[in-house]
Amino acid sequence: MLHTFVALVEDKPGVLTRVASLFRRLNINIISLTVGRSERPGVSRMSIVAEAPAGAGHRIKASLFKLESVFDVDDVGQLQCVTRELALIKVAATPQSRAQIFQLSEIFRARIVDLAPESMMLEITGAASKIEGLIQVLNEGDNQILEIARTGRMVMRRGQHTSHVLEAFQLSQPEDEPIIPLTAEKGSENLDVISGDPNHPM
């Protein structure tokens, strides 16, 4: 069964190793792991998807908590979440076949981000199933896929929920230190990409 965890961790060298090493020790395969900055300086956010027996969630979560570098863990597998993945797909394309790929990307709400004489690059954001859908259709349509790069899943709970640690941080925070608002930093070029339509049917 797939388990999904969101972990807020110290933004320091070696923290990724500690988290990854834990899964290695438990002999659990990580399907995807994405790391990036969170809304707080010094805190990174990880979305971890792992294949493990149904009952293993509690133990994985508890073990993640034991890592000193982990501030908070949420087992979001059963919760209302928005899950997104970004993929870049490079397809062989001649001037003749381009039109068909344009059409496909339209249907999948993918974007063409590069066009070369013999290839095109598509950018697609969505649930993993949507990305897999596009890949499948491309394959079936005899379009040779040259390269695929996928980010792995990113997850966020729907609604008002905020992680415990941030609540705790806010309580202990001296008042003059502002809480960074939940928007991307300046210069974050990919902002538009991540804001895909959450209710997209695919």
């Binding site: 190793t17 979560k61 908590f65 034991k66």
Partner: protein, 586 residues
């Protein structure tokens, strides 16, 4: 170069070298003794030692330093400290760190590291010790800046002793040791430990636990190392007495309640007494207190205590339902949790379960060492029994790993917490002698006995020299059977007595002791035991007794690997049965 207070930022702020900050922080944390071995990458730290009131025990191998720090911690409940240089010094610590990790022992290891500018270049004696020890430490740090040393070390102490204790390693680069930084002990205090969101004994769970306890007909308390760490002895005794609940102990839980207590059953598990394992299998409620249902304790999980509900009181949430599914989990400090539930538990009158369990004991009593005649052979079980009598059960016994360790657990009756020091989770041979040195440093007024096998003793026998250099009074009993005894036993039971590589030649241990200026005696018969033990106890300094015991004796009962807990291999009733053959001198 004496350090001078320069900074005026805060009243207690001084400018110190990183090396000085190490010792100043340790002093502030209350450390008076460290165990270590110098080398190039840690020389600045050694150079600064003379300015601080800390005693350094020079070991003979860094594994010894880690075991000494571990023994110190287990005997005292304080954080033990080991120090080593980079590269081979650091890697030599590894076995000792893993030993402490598996038994949740609070320890801080400080290693020197090559200068930060050279990190990652395979410079002389560079090793990635934080990488190596990542899975065997509770946490580790690499420090490359002098100003970080104080805060990191204080955090290391806090992590080592908070919650479920464990070892923490701090790797300090040479340039960080040499650089100057402002130091103020108070200002280095770590943030209060983040609250563990899963750490809660919810009211509902407490009520469920109380219901289960009040309704149980055949409850048993299972007591582990957590009971010692939490200091819950009194609460456990109150609970046991109030409801007449027999108490079984893990190897590391021995001493948490006195062995002489009427309700104490003794050790459970692979070499637990028959009645203990039988009682567990018959029980309808297991109240597990600070123990983790290790495979050495449960036998086959599928058939473990089949009719029992399980209440698991444990500080580490990741232990809940790891091996045995908990019906009710109370997560938190054992003592606090027991204090919450005790007021809600009314005394019980019915003692029929205790009587039934005691009847199981009676059946085994025929095999009891005290009831049997002597045949002239020397058996390890007798040696340990006699040692227990001679020391009135008051010594701190530090064992190695193997058959003698199990016999110790069976026959030395521990009445006090922290009076048995042994490597349980990792089962590290070579642990006993260095750990005993650590224990003696922590508790200089206590009588300390090492009990080790001829195999394990040779793994760290070089620490005899440390013992002498430190002028410590420790008595050593080598249980010498000419074999790696426990391996031989498994080969006898499971590999058709193919004793592959288990016979072991030893030096004459008494001569070895003599070479260190340590007196000793060799004992071949039961009759000589008492006199030798007396001589050892009366000697001013250390004393070694080489007990030449029966070569092919086995530890009984034994739950074979994968067998149910009550499927025990018992001592054969006829034939080779030392307990039938021998007994105490009248």
């Amino acid at each position: 170069m004496p350090s001078q207070p320069v900074s005026s930022a805060a009243p207690h702020t001084k400018q110190l070298t990183g090396a000085e900050i190490v010792w100043a922080t340790l002093t502030g944390e209350g450390v008076r003794t460290v165990f270590g071995y110098p080398g190039g990458a840690i020389l600045p730290i050694y150079d600064a030692l003379r300015k601080y009131p800390i005693h350094h025990v020079l070991v003979r191998h860094e594994q010894g330093a880690a075991h000494m720090a571990d023994g110190y911690a287990r005997a005292s409940g304080e954080v033990g400290v080991a120090v080593a240089t980079s590269g081979p010094g650091a890697t030599n610590l590894v076995t000792g760190i893993a030993t402490a990790m598996l038994d949740s022992v609070p320890m801080v290891c400080i290693t020197g590291q090559i200068s930060s500018k050279l990190l990652g270049t395979d410079a002389f004696q560079e090793v990635d010790i934080t990488g190596i020890t990542l899975p065997i430490t509770k946490h580790n740090f690499i420090v490359t800046k002098s100003e970080d040393i104080g805060p990191v070390l204080r955090r290391a102490f806090s992590i080592a002793r908070t919650g479920r204790p464990g070892p923490v390693l701090v790797d300090i680069t040479k340039d960080a040791q040499q650089g100057l930084a402002d130091f103020n002990f108070e200002a280095c205090a770590p943030q209060p430990h983040r609250p563990h969101p899963m750490l809660s004994a919810e009211n509902e769970a407490v009520s469920e636990a109380i219901d289960l306890i009040l309704n149980a007909q055949r409850p048993i308390l299972l007591v582990g190392h957590g009971a010692l760490e939490s200091g819950a002895t009194d609460q456990l005794i109150t609970l046991a007495e109030r409801l007449h609940i027999p108490v079984a102990s893990t190897l590391l839980g021995l001493g948490a309640i006195p062995a002489s207590h009427d309700l104490s059953l003794g050790m459970m598990g692979m070499h637990g007494e028959a009645w203990v394992n039988q009682a567990i299998q018959q029980s309808d409620l297991l109240i597990a207190c600070g123990m983790r249902f290790d495979d050495r304790v449960t036998g086959a999980l599928t058939s473990y205590a089949p009719n029992a509900k399980k209440i698991h009181i444990e500080i580490d949430p990741s232990e809940i339902s790891k091996n045995v599914k908990a019906d009710v989990a109370l997560i938190g400090d054992l003592k606090e949790i027991l204090e919450t539930i005790l007021p809600r538990l009314a005394p019980r009158k019915d003692q029929s379960w205790v009587k039934a369990v005691n009847a199981l004991k009676g059946v085994a009593a025929v095999r009891d060492i005290k009831n049997l005649p002597d045949s002239g052979h020397l058996y390890a079980a007798h040696v340990i029994h006699d040692l227990w009598r001679a020391t009135a059960g008051k010594a701190i016994v530090v064992t190695d790993v193997g058959q003698h360790q199990m016999w110790e657990a069976q026959y030395y009756k521990h009445d006090a917490p922290r009076s048995l020091i042994t490597s349980g989770g990792l089962g590290t041979m070579g642990f006993a002698l260095p750990a005993a040195i650590g224990a003696k440093m922590a508790r200089p007024d206590d009588e300390i006995w090492v009990i080790a096998g001829d195999g394990g003793f040779q793994m760290t026998a070089s620490e005899l020299s440390t013992l002498v250099q430190e002028k410590l009074k420790i008595n050593i009993a080598v249980i010498n059977n000419g074999f790696l005894g426990m391996v031989r036993q498994w080969q006898e039971f499971m590999y058709e007595s193919n004793y592959a590589c288990s016979p072991i030649l030893s030096p004459d241990f008494v001569k070895l002791a003599d070479a260190h200026g340590v007196p000793g005696a060799t004992v071949r018969t039961r009759g000589e035991v008492a006199a030798a033990v007396k001589a050892a106890r009366e000697a001013d300094g250390p004393f070694l007794i080489n007990f030449l015991v029966e070569k092919e004796d086995a530890v009984y009962p034994m739950v074979g690997p994968g067998a149910a807990l009550d499927e025990m291999i018992r001592r054969p009733a006829n034939g080779h049965n030392p307990l039938l053959e021998t007994s105490e001198e009248p």
